[in-house]
Symmetry: D2
Amino acid sequence: MASKIDLNCDMGESFGRYSLGSDAEIVRYVTSANIACGFHAGDPLVMSATVALAAAAGVSIGAHPGYPDLQGFGRRNMELSPAEVEALVLYQVGALAGFARAAGVELVHVKPHGALYNQAAKDRSLAKAIARGVARFSRKLILVGLAGSRLVDAAIDAGLPTASEGFADRAYNPDGSLRPRSLPGAVYADPAAAAAQAVSLAQQGIPITAGSQTHYVPVDTLCIHGDTPGAAAFARAVRAALEEAGIEVRGLAQV
Amino acid sequence: MASKIDLNCDMGESFGRYSLGSDAEIVRYVTSANIACGFHAGDPLVMSATVALAAAAGVSIGAHPGYPDLQGFGRRNMELSPAEVEALVLYQVGALAGFARAAGVELVHVKPHGALYNQAAKDRSLAKAIARGVARFSRKLILVGLAGSRLVDAAIDAGLPTASEGFADRAYNPDGSLRPRSLPGAVYADPAAAAAQAVSLAQQGIPITAGSQTHYVPVDTLCIHGDTPGAAAFARAVRAALEEAGIEVRGLAQV
Amino acid sequence: MASKIDLNCDMGESFGRYSLGSDAEIVRYVTSANIACGFHAGDPLVMSATVALAAAAGVSIGAHPGYPDLQGFGRRNMELSPAEVEALVLYQVGALAGFARAAGVELVHVKPHGALYNQAAKDRSLAKAIARGVARFSRKLILVGLAGSRLVDAAIDAGLPTASEGFADRAYNPDGSLRPRSLPGAVYADPAAAAAQAVSLAQQGIPITAGSQTHYVPVDTLCIHGDTPGAAAFARAVRAALEEAGIEVRGLAQV
Amino acid sequence: MASKIDLNCDMGESFGRYSLGSDAEIVRYVTSANIACGFHAGDPLVMSATVALAAAAGVSIGAHPGYPDLQGFGRRNMELSPAEVEALVLYQVGALAGFARAAGVELVHVKPHGALYNQAAKDRSLAKAIARGVARFSRKLILVGLAGSRLVDAAIDAGLPTASEGFADRAYNPDGSLRPRSLPGAVYADPAAAAAQAVSLAQQGIPITAGSQTHYVPVDTLCIHGDTPGAAAFARAVRAALEEAGIEVRGLAQV
């Protein structure tokens, strides 16, 4: 039974004149901030302010690198060479680390964004490229990936600490994969349902059922979505439920 | 009489399919590389390769941040707020520092590019913003500016080590400013002329004449242009002339 | 006494994941839409949808070209060569005209955006470059500029129809210039104040006072800001006041 | 036996400070120019100059739209929604058409670039999206696609005139597909080999062999690569061989 878990949220996804998310509210409920690095979202001013916000709240800081696709918000699949991916991860991690250093805080983790995260869950070569990009910067950075994914495997192979991510507000298939967003019921509308699943993921992990057998994939961190309406209500509900269940909510470095 | 000088050159200014400069040749003659950071030129793959090239050649590595203006190659004046400039300098320095760290070498200096460099030579507020961006990353980084410029003043005020730059292949006005490129004779076509001026700048500095009085502004580093035809011939001529004159050519950290 | 006036509003300034403005509401009150063309804001999907929205509402369509500066929302001054400006205006006008053509509507006007508009109000060479860019596409396009500005002069010199713009919600200086936003009282917070000024601008124009003399610069179109909180309330108030005063509110082609 | 053929070449693929291709030379040998539209390459100034160059040479002008991926030169596969593709094609066609109109010449054709072209050769939904984007601008534009591809099918379905493209300097597989560039012999190094294949493609088409049967897919236009070393020599050799064989080389509108 896990007695501790991390809550992470994507932050700093505004850009210039464009505002997105409710970082100032969400930061009160999470323990890790994945901060956009200027490729799929974010700009230098936004990064500076977001690092300061997270640091002031005592929230762990991570880089949230994405594809160079602001228009698609990094959610459109792209086919880049492994060398390109490795270099763009290293670039974005370095850029964010500069702001962390300026703020006097440590960079703790790296979580790829959107299509980069999703493609790397299944594509071994892409996953390895991401891991190399992170490892070239530092072997102390925790690489966050979908629980049970190629990305987690690649992180382990590269000698990186890793964290397996679960989703409180998403339905899982019996094989442990996420129910596609296109299907009904894929995303929970009710904060209470998300809160209940958060507790179960923290305590047991993701259930994988094959025939009559069920085993559980442990989860180190739960993703809180920050750019949806009612995001803060979900975050509050999840956090409260975890604490009520006696689960310690703390940053990845302490999990 | 200066007995040592640094030779610096802008490098890594290719982008994707587009090649620019003759870095592999020039790197043999210089002691410092100002590496583009992806805003006015350069991309993560180019940065990775250029850092490796410079490191292998034993050349000091510096960040070469510019305006976010790839189409204008960072040469078009822009009016950004001081906060924007501070943040974009910190961003680019961090990004380049990541590649340096990955290559096991130190980041030694920062030299702003193009319009950012030129505007900061005269604009105190802009110069201070650049210096703050660099200082937030590290107070050990050497900030390179036009000799006698506001940027050098701002670096000193910010407690940064600084290096004053001169140009071997550009004519100077009697007041020590550079003769505008639009005027005839502003840029030397003859490598021998550049070589001679390099020696004189290293030994005496830039002459400033007021009335019958001349004093000299010392120069710590000479800029070698890398993206012009015949750039390598200039670099070779300048380097040879300096060594013949008994001037030690070495990186900024050693000047 | 003017008996008719146009009401224009910037539209289509969303980008990818980022939403801005309340176009669907504002479009009910205005007679001309200045549609962003993908440089300072807007993307092809947004442009397509915005042209369809304006066409369905019977609102005249214009191109709203800006500097290539998404991060600065086209509001940061840039120094581009006249040839660059001419070409970027022609590019953006052509792109928007393609969507208008696809929707079966005419492109009626061009209004530069942000820093391009403001710099062209004072800079004759820039204003002429914009006018050339428009004229190369068509001499029937109406070029909208600040009343009394260089841009209006340049449009006339280039043989273009032109429209002089006034601002209902901005205070004017005695010399007819806009009171800078940095000063108190520069922007009216009260829709009623904007509505009253709209009527006065439509009926009399902008008062220019020199000594004891006052003359009036006529205004053909009034700008309604769409991206501020309460924008729709302002638009509704201005429209209602104009109609109550017996001023016909109609598109530029009919003014 | 075909007695006429078009020769097309990608042009205007420079960007800002970056030069690519030898347009001024190549334009003498081809009859159609596919001009980059600012997404994968090209910028407004380059487009203006390239349209002028092609118009002066009497070469037909076409739009060459690509993915919004300057760094990847539009050669990296992306997964965009059909609506996004339709809109980005319409955008780029409109932008280029503006320059053509300004130069007093007709826009004759559209040829997608790089990954957009290659993915559309196989992906029916993507091909249809491109065809819709073109058709929304004009049903008179000729859509150029790989001979035998989904893109040609989609153009026909959309009621567009279409042109089937062959490659003089690329080896074909027995099934009519192009031999992948990764395999030896995929690209001819010898201009004479390209010239011979050009004549055979023009006269017979692409041979498709199944068992003992061979049939031929006709070719309306041949692609001349402009950004490779020796491109002009290939273009000259191909053009000369076609004329020697009595094949008329002329623009797509006349083929």
